[in-house]
């Protein structure tokens, strides 16, 4: 199953439209810089990036499902695998890894060995340890999973901008969002 997802990721990546990587990275950098200037507070910027990501995620999920043809995942492991091998490949062109499963199998880490968003980026010392530059990714995962009824907390743990070897995003499963029977149908 692992390699099937990798193949699906590769296949969908080849089929989607591409954008110039530099334009993408520079645009994102400008957004972060503007936010830092507007909010003047690193924590607020982190929050706003997450919210921005959330708004992207609730839309991205439909695009993801439509292009990949993936149906409902049986369990969290399959979800995690789809995120890493198919979604990240399709949208960012990178393949992520899933590691550090918790004992109760409700938490996992998404590890990015390479992250195009961080190309050419260097943070000034004053914000290097407090800003999560690509926090938007956390919001995207959170928003996308919410639309398929998984309520999760997503947070950044490690980043090369802080001196770590890779990016690590921690996903914690909270609950299945219960389906209510639509009004008048029971």
């Amino acid at each position: 199953m692992a390699s099937k997802n990798a193949r699906l990721g590769e296949y969908t990546f080849n089929k989607v439209d591409k954008v110039n990587a530099e334009i993408f990275v520079l645009t994102y950098g400008t957004i972060v810089a503007q936010m830092l200037e507007d909010f003047d507070d690193v924590n607020e910027t982190n929050k706003q990036l997450d919210r921005m990501g959330y708004r992207i995620g609730v839309r991205l999920i439909d695009e993801f499902l439509a292009r990949s043809g993936i149906g409902r995942c049986k369990d969290l492991k399959e979800t995690a695998d789809n995120i890493a091998k198919v979604a990240f490949k399709m949208f960012l062109g990178i393949t992520a890894r899933i590691e550090n499963w918790s004992a109760d199998e409700k938490e996992f880490s998404v590890i990015l060995d390479e992250n195009p968003l961080l190309d050419y980026v260097e943070l000034p010392p004053s914000i290097r340890t407090s800003l999560w530059y690509d926090n938007v990714i956390c919001g995207v995962i959170r928003g996308a999973l919410e639309m398929v009824q998984l309520s999760v907390d997503v947070a950044y743990l490690k980043s090369p901008l802080r001196g770590d070897d890779f990016c690590e995003v921690r996903v914690t499963f909270k609950e299945y969002i219960a389906d209510e029977v639509p009004v008048g149908e029971d």
């Binding site: 439909d62 439509a66 639309m147 389906d179």
Partner: protein
């Protein structure tokens, strides 16, 4: 009329619904409706409610009666979106109803003339190339809310005419 959707192959598309998971009708398009709504459900609103109720119940019944055992569900219990049987279409002596439900709870329903084969491919094209492209990616669209989009309507018209 300009919106009639009769393809060269003779297939007719009558109307099209988009519902969200709660049963709200997000979009309704009509190309031909020889029988007026008043003679059927009564009002357009009732028509939408009945259409959603029909597909919702059909899916529940299909899942509960599934003899293959790959999908488990008790009749009456809500089925999480994406699980359960996916019915694809039904045909009456006068029309065919084609159905697609996405794991995000969006339901697409297309009523056509009955001489067609399986339209699952076409339903996926509507979801992927028309709904996702022109509605989901529109920043003014709130996921799960009713929408009107001239681009979506134009593309949909164009597509159904080509079927």
């Amino acid at each position: 009329g300009g919106r009639r959707a009769r393809a060269a192959g003779g297939m007719v598309c009558y109307n099209f619904y988009v519902f969200n998971r709660e049963g709200a009708c997000l979009h309704y398009a009509e190309w031909e409706r020889p029988k007026p709504v008043q003679d059927g459900a009564g009002t357009l609103e009732d028509d939408h409610k009945m259409m959603f109720g029909l597909t919702f119940s059909l899916k529940n019944f299909c899942t509960a009666l599934d003899p293959t055992g790959s999908e488990k569900a008790n009749l009456g219990a809500p089925i999480p979106i994406g699980t359960g049987c996916h019915f694809r279409s039904f045909k009456t002596n006068t029309y065919a109803l084609n159905y697609l439900e996405t794991p995000t709870g969006i339901k697409l329903i297309l009523n056509t003339s009955k001489g067609t084969g399986s339209l699952q491919e076409a339903m996926w094209v509507i979801y992927r190339d028309i709904f996702c492209e022109f509605v989901v990616k529109n920043p003014l669209y709130t996921p799960g809310a009713p929408f009107e989009s001239p681009q979506f309507t134009a593309r949909l018209d164009q597509f159904v005419k080509s079927l």
